[in-house]
């Protein structure tokens, strides 16, 4: 592979990054070739020592996606970063993905329970208050005061659990980004 082929492959594979960033990256490699040539090296040798431009492009892309996931948090951006990291083959995604999915499932469960608690709590409060105005009602044998207090308690518990879930979600997000960053530091031959 000569200089032109190397640069063109790299540029093509960097597609999707901001143009400004691509130009800046290409500048580094143009400079590298220029100095190498001025020291009497051959284009082919410089290109070989640099390594496969497709892999190099992947390294830039995964970095840029992780930065995007960090500065612009969204599930979509996180997934993009994870998939591009997988494409680079820097971690065994079967081992990582299993626990990740379990944690996500647990979180979804927690959200479900918290919503259930709030709905149940509010139902218990208003169900009791509205008894005098309704013809039909289910009497569980609680005193109205007990039922209302129980409702308030459940609602508070639900809200607390929801807030805890939100906090854990944020923690998981940050942890995942950190893990990805740590992984891209692996030096590949």
């Amino acid at each position: 592979m000569n200089r032109k082929e190397f640069i063109e492959t790299l540029r093509a594979d960097l597609k999707g990054l901001p143009q400004e960033e691509i130009d800046d990256i290409i500048y580094d490699y143009e400079e590298h070739f220029r100095i190498g040539l001025s020291q009497g090296k051959f284009e082919e040798d410089i290109a070989r020592e640099l390594g496969d431009p497709r892999n190099i492009a992947k390294m830039y892309k995964v970095s840029s996606k992780i930065d995007e996931a960090e500065s612009n948090p969204s599930p979509k951006n996180l997934l993009k970063a994870m998939f591009s990291a997988m494409a680079l083959g820097i971690f065994n995604f079967i081992i990582v993905l299993g626990p990740f999915i379990v944690i996500i499932a647990l979180l979804i469960g927690m959200y479900g329970i918290s919503v259930g608690l709030v709905v149940g709590g509010i139902g218990s409060i208003f169900g009791t208050i509205l008894i005098p105005f309704s013809h039909y009602h289910v009497n569980l044998g609680f005193l109205p005061v007990t039922a209302v207090s129980l409702g308030i308690g459940l609602t508070c518990l639900g809200v607390l659990l929801f807030m805890a879930s939100l906090y854990l979600t944020k923690l998981l997000y940050r942890g995942t980004v950190k893990y990805l960053k740590w992984n891209i530091d692996t030096i590949k031959k």
Binding site: D28, Y29, H32, I35, E49, G51, Y60
Partner: protein
């Protein structure tokens, strides 16, 4: 050498070189690949990451031959990170050496 061993080491190499003086990319790459067996192309993505993380900055300087060269310089934050990495590295190497030398008799 096992790939796992090299994790983070390259970052340490780049930052500690920049502690001495500013370098342009080619010099950094040439010096590191002289001592460590790596694909040279992996150093530029690392430099870019260090720049995004605020550990290094770049500036262009005119050269006699051709367009201006891009120089890399370490920031205060980078110096701090480098000190930490050097400390961790020495600690690690000391630990491994102690084990290798067979310091197992109490």
């Amino acid at each position: 050498m096992n790939i796992q061993f090299k994790k983070g080491v390259l970052e340490l190499c780049v930052l500690s070189m920049l502690l001495e003086r500013d370098y342009y990319g080619y010099e950094l790459v040439e010096h590191i690949s002289k001592h460590i067996d790596i694909s040279e192309g992996t150093i530029y993505p690392l430099l870019r990451r260090l720049k995004t993380d605020g550990f290094v900055k770049t500036y262009l300087e005119e050269s006699q031959e051709g367009p201006p060269r891009k120089y890399y310089t370490i920031t205060e934050e980078g110096k701090k990170a480098c000190d930490e990495l050097i400390f961790e590295w020495n600690h690690f190497v000391q630990g491994v050496n102690t084990i290798i030398k067979g310091d197992r008799h109490e």
